[in-house]
């Protein structure tokens, strides 16, 4: 079994192979060939992941080492993969959801002249993402970490001829680089603290340091910075809405299902550190909860079908990060899993709509599309309900687990756990509200734009089949993590061996029930409010609400972009300009000026060469005088 698990090491290579084939020979491939090749590569990866999954289930974690990556004396970084419960689960999500999205893309991208480039980049992404989760050391993880960032950059700017798209990609890349900066520093500090960068070794060694040691907190905060960059958490969240410039399947895969959850994965992976650094962990939760709340509010005010989902993603990832920050690693990963399904589904649904409308993305021009697009409409409804936290759908369980964790996490108790719980609960309600708005404006009600409505048609099967599969998943996947007091919590048990231990208060069964019901109430309230505002109020109320300051803040996404522009971008550009002109006008000129002294001196010296014999003789006499005086003074009088 061990050997079979090792076989899964091929998964990223296969994806890479797909990328290389598409990248180098894509121009010679006709029709759907690129998509099929890419999908096959990912499908193979999925199969391998399954093998690994069962292998790990049977025999526990497996490590593979292919030799050294970086060496210098004691500093040794291996080139190896670590298959354990967490990583194989992530691999399954990546390859599974990835496969569906690949297949969907065949339809979605049909006819685009960059299709081979698209699939090459998508495959490359899968490869990088797999490396990220499989890596057994931080540097190798960083390889995948940056790799996915690069692919994200490429795919966001896929339609690069529009400079706005390209700039969105650029922004994503740069903001992610800030996170990478944190990741690098975190690694440096980790090495300083532990003398190794092997993830397992670090996790094992972390408890040996004092609980809450400053260096652990420091490492934790730096990893938080890294996670915030990749997972679009405050304050590095601004790139994700812009990232919607990319093709929708990309948004589904990278910016919903997989890449943005890398931060969650990172924190879960380094649980050993966070479990021993309560301050850092609490910071994580605070950041995450505030992100979730902020993003949920912003999502209300958006009009772009994808941007609403993007903000929703930020908000939902906030849930996950909050969970792992609180020490409920399984809950975070659980939400990653469920979110992968319903958010991918939402995006693909949105993609289907956009595809049907020929590129229209403004929800104000939609409405009633559910009637013309049955599958899309239905599946989107399921996803909407799932994310809103309607009972018995996947989102309900995972969200509930997170809320419970926030309430009961012992370390968090000292850092305002209750407040966080309330805030996140509120966020859950808002989620239901804005998701209802999203669904209603797109699929229900009356069509607001006749022309668009006329154009709409259901997408081809290659797109709707993945939608359906995902819809099924969105319904059923939640049952792997039923609350422990109801049934065996499969995912919690699955992950338990590899997760760091954090103490939780034990809630009584009644409290558990109360919590379950509470979240139902909140979800219902959100949905009901949505129904009241959008379905019944027929716009008037929405308009009135739209005039409140909160609403304009929501529309403006709390002005982060503007703030960053005036706080970082413009001063940064100014700084760059300043340095450039400093270099040109001060350093360069200064150095030249310094050397300019030499010719000046030369000019003076040349003046002495007057051409007069007698002056030359005088110079000689002066020399003699000096020598004679020296002889007299030193030899006679001294």
């Amino acid at each position: 079994m061990n050997d079979l698990v090792q076989l899964a090491s091929l998964a990223p290579l296969l994806a890479l192979a797909g990328a290389v084939i598409n990248g180098l020979f894509g121009r010679n491939l006709k029709g759907n060939a690129p998509g099929i090749i890419a999908s096959l590569a990912v499908a193979a990866g999925f199969v391998l992941s399954l093998i690994a999954f069962f292998g790990v289930r049977a025999g526990g974690a497996v490590r593979v080492n292919f030799g050294d990556f970086l060496v210098a004396g004691d500093f040794k970084i291996g080139l190896g993969f670590h298959f354990d419960q967490l990583s194989v689960l992530m691999m399954l999500i990546i390859t599974g959801v990835g496969l569906l999205i690949h297949i969907y893309s065949i339809g979605y991208m049909h006819g685009d002249d960059g299709i081979s480039r698209y699939f090459a980049q998508l495959n490359l992404f899968v490869a990088a993402m797999l490396v990220l989760v499989m890596a057994d050391s931080f540097p190798l993880m960083f390889v995948g970490w940056e790799g996915v960032g690069v692919c994200s950059f490429l795919l966001i700017g896929f339609w690069y001829r529009d400079l706005a798209n390209a700039s969105a990609g650029r922004k994503a890349f740069i903001v992610n680089r800030v996170g990478d900066f944190g990741f690098l520093l975190a690694m440096f500090l980790t090495y300083k603290a532990f003398g190794t960068l092997d993830i397992q070794a670090v996790n094992a060694a972390a408890p040996s340091l004092a609980y809450g040691a400053a260096i652990l907190t420091g490492i934790g905060l730096l990893y938080l910075l890294a996670a915030a960059g990749k997972s679009a958490q405050l304050p590095l969240h601004t790139w994700l809405p812009d990232a919607m410039a990319g093709p929708t399947p990309v948004s589904a895969l990278i910016h919903a299902a997989t890449m943005v959850t890398a931060g969650v994965y990172l924190i879960a992976r380094t649980g050993g550190i966070f479990a021993n650094a309560p301050g850092a962990a609490a910071t994580v939760v605070w950041v995450a909860v505030l992100t979730a709340l902020m993003a949920a509010i912003v999502a209300i005010g958006q009009t772009d079908i994808k941007k609403i989902l993007a903000w929703s993603t930020i908000s939902q990832v906030g849930f996950m990060v909050a969970a792992v920050g609180a020490g409920a690693y399984w809950a975070g990963i659980f939400h990653v899993l469920t979110h992968a399904f319903f958010k991918a589904l939402l995006f693909l649904g949105a993609g289907s709509v956009i595809h049907a409308l020929g590129g229209e993305q403004d929800v104000r021009k939609m409405g009633g599309l559910g009637r013309k697009m049955r599958v899309t409409g239905t599946t989107s409804l399921i996803a909407t309900l799932a994310i809103a936290g309607v009972p018995f759908l996947s989102g309900y369980f995972s969200k509930d687990a997170i809320l419970g964790a926030l309430l009961t996490s012992m370390p968090l108790g000292n850092y305002g756990g209750q407040i966080l719980f309330v805030l996140l609960m509120l966020t859950a309600g808002i989620t239901a509200f804005y998701m209802f708005r999203w669904y209603y404006l797109v699929f229900a009600g009356e069509p607001r734009s006749k022309a668009e409505f006329e154009r709409a048609h259901e997408s081809p099967a290659v797109m709707t089949v993945p939608l359906s599969i995902l819809a099924v998943g969105s319904v059923v996947i939640g049952y792997v993590g039923l609350p422990a007091f109801l049934a065996p919590n499969a995912i919690q048990e699955w992950l338990a061996p590899v997760m760091a231990h954090v103490d939780f208060e034990h809630l009584s069964t009644s409290a558990e029930w109360l919590l379950l019901i509470g979240s139902v109430v909140v979800a219902a309230a959100g949905l009901g409010l949505g129904y009241w505002v959008y379905a019944l109020g027929s716009g008037a109320l929405a308009k009135r609400l739209g005039n409140t300051p909160l609403a304009s803040a929501s529309r403006g996404a709390f002005g982060f972009d503007r703030l960053y522009r005036s706080l970082f971008t413009e001063p940064g550009e100014g700084l760059a300009e300043g340095v450039a002109s400093l270099d040109r006008d001060v350093v360069d000129r200064g150095m030249t000026g310094l050397t300019g002294v030499v010719p000046l001196l030369g000019r003076l010296i040349v003046l002495l060469q007057s051409g007069y014999v007698r002056a030359y003789a005088f110079a000689m006499v002066l020399g003699v005088l000096a020598l004679a005086v020296a002889a007299a003074l030193i030899g006679v009088f001294a």
């Binding site: 970086l70 004396g73 360069d588």
Partner: protein, 495 residues
């Protein structure tokens, strides 16, 4: 003996090229032969037997080359880079291509000598001699302001290296070493007092900092790159000839450990400043080559950070980065040359949207840009990572500051790509020609090779890096002993 041949072969080919200057085909053939031949020799370099010959025996100078440590790695990478560079020179230089090729080959010989010499004077000989081909390339084939740029280059380089020469000569005079061979010197120099070592180190450092280069002694580099021949081939040489870091690594640090320990913190600060400064300056450049020059300056800052952290991993990483940047920076300079070949301009504003009509070109360029900004999995990352990590272990704050350059690198990297290849298509451009593809393939191969499989090279580099750390430890041990030579010895003549 291979270490001697890798120095002699390029010289020989250079002379043949000059003799066969009248036939363009012959020049091209010889250029290719020279590039490939040297590369082939370099493949067998590591671990081969060294060469020893008397040179100025009574001054303690022996012509001693040896293929151990980091040298063979650098020679090999440089040889790989030189193949396409020579091809570009032989085909893209309109006037006097033979001269261009010959100068490149001579410079390559000098570089190989720098990397392989084990005698300090021989090292200096190569160090200084290699300056001349670079200067001539700039002056003979450069742009409108080439003369000013050449003068600047000359003054900076020579002023630095001459001071270095004084230190080199004093090193033996003061320590009483039997010869200038590295082993003899390493045995003898720790007996020098820390004060003396500091002065000697400062002397050597000035020469090496100029060629590293670090802020504020870098201006020559910018002008050099801007004014060099538009094919970019000479700029590739420029990126190979940043040998200051190697000088520190192979000579200054192991020979003067006590001095290094005193001076390194200041140099580390300078290096960290350089890393961020270069990256920031790169962001707002409008001229492609100046852009690359500043970016490269930033890399050199990171290399400096790795060196002056005086940590084994940092030292190894810095040298690895030095090798890697030859590929990424060199490749991008050739890309710049190819762009110029199409549009006759280096100004970024004249470009945009090229990816549409030249997808392969865009792809390769993006690949090299990613390598350039240190994306993991590509050549620059291992070195950059280890350099910063190593320095962080000993001096966290400067290293952390230098790491900021990573963010700035992201900014200038994607900015560059966007301004060249993305956006609306202006004028359609031809995609890579077959020749251009052949030129870029070695770079791609090299970038992947160094990015994915750094361990073998790192092990070779480590052998030599260990010398530095051993000497540093010896210096700490020697600190308690009574110094045999004091600073007073430096102030007066023989009485």
């Amino acid at each position: 003996m291979i270490s001697l041949y890798v120095v002699l072969l390029p010289v020989l080919i250079a002379l043949l090229v000059l003799l066969g200057r009248s036939s363009a085909a012959l020049v091209r053939g010889l250029a290719f032969l020279g590039g490939v031949g040297t590369f082939a020799l370099s493949l067998f370099l590591a671990g081969s037997e060294g060469f020893q010959g008397a040179w100025l025996p009574r001054m303690g100078v022996n012509f001693s080359l040896d293929a151990t440590g980091a040298g063979p790695v650098l020679v090999l990478v440089a040889a790989l880079v030189m193949i396409p560079t020579l091809l570009v020179a032989a085909t893209r230089v309109e006037q006097n291509a033979a001269g261009f090729v010959a100068l490149l080959l001579l410079a390559q010989a000098g570089l190989n000598g720098i990397f392989l010499s084990k005698d300090l004077i021989v090292f200096y000989v190569f160090w200084e001699a290699t300056l001349i081909p670079g200067l001539l390339l700039l002056g003979m084939f450069g742009g409108d302001k080439r003369r000013q740029a050449a003068l600047k280059y000359l003054v900076y380089a020579v002023a630095g290296s001459m001071l270095m020469l004084v230190s080199i000569l004093s090193l033996k005079a003061l320590s009483g070493a039997a010869s200038f061979h590295i082993t003899e010197l390493m045995i003898a120099t720790p007996s020098l007092s820390a004060g003396v070592q500091t002065w000697l180190f400062v002397g050597m450092a000035i020469g090496m900092v100029v060629k590293l280069p670090l802020w504020p002694l870098h201006s020559w580099l910018i002008d050099l790159n801007e004014q060099n021949h538009p094919s970019g081939a000479a700029d590739v040489l420029g990126s190979l000839y940043k040998v200051g870091a190697f000088g520190f690594f192979a000579w200054a640090l192991p020979l003067l450990p006590a001095g290094a320990e005193r001076v390194a913190p200041y140099l580390l600060a300078l290096a960290a400043v350089t890393a961020v400064y270069g990256a920031l300056a790169a962001i707002s450049q409008q001229h492609l080559k100046r852009f690359l020059a500043y970016g490269s300056l930033s890399h050199m800052g990171i290399i400096g950070v790795g060196l002056f952290g005086l940590h084994l991993a940092g030292l190894s990483g810095a040298i690895y980065f030095l090798a890697a940047q030859m590929l990424s920076t060199g490749g991008l300079f050739l890309v710049a040359g190819m762009l110029y070949h199409r549009r006759r301009s280096f100004m970024l504003k004249d470009y945009g949207g090229l990816a549409k009509s030249a997808p392969a070109f865009a792809g390769v360029s993006l690949f090299l840009i990613f390598a350039y900004i240190g994306v993991p999995g590509l050549s620059n990352f291992p070195g950059e990572f280890m350099a910063l990590l190593g320095a962080f272990q000993t001096s966290p704050w400067p290293a952390a500051f230098a790491t900021l350059a990573v963010i700035a690198a992201g900014v200038y990297g994607v900015n560059l790509y966007q301004r060249l290849f993305q956006g609306p298509t202006t004028v359609p451009t031809s995609d890579l020609s077959a020749l251009e593809l052949y030129v870029l393939v070695p770079f791609i191969a090299g970038v992947l090779w160094l990015g994915i499989s750094p361990a073998p090279q790192l092990r070779q580099i480590e052998q030599q890096a260990a010398l530095v750390t051993i000497q540093l430890e010896r210096a700490v041990d020697a600190a308690d002993e009574v110094p045999t030579v004091t600073l007073a010895g430096l102030t007066g003549g023989e009485k």
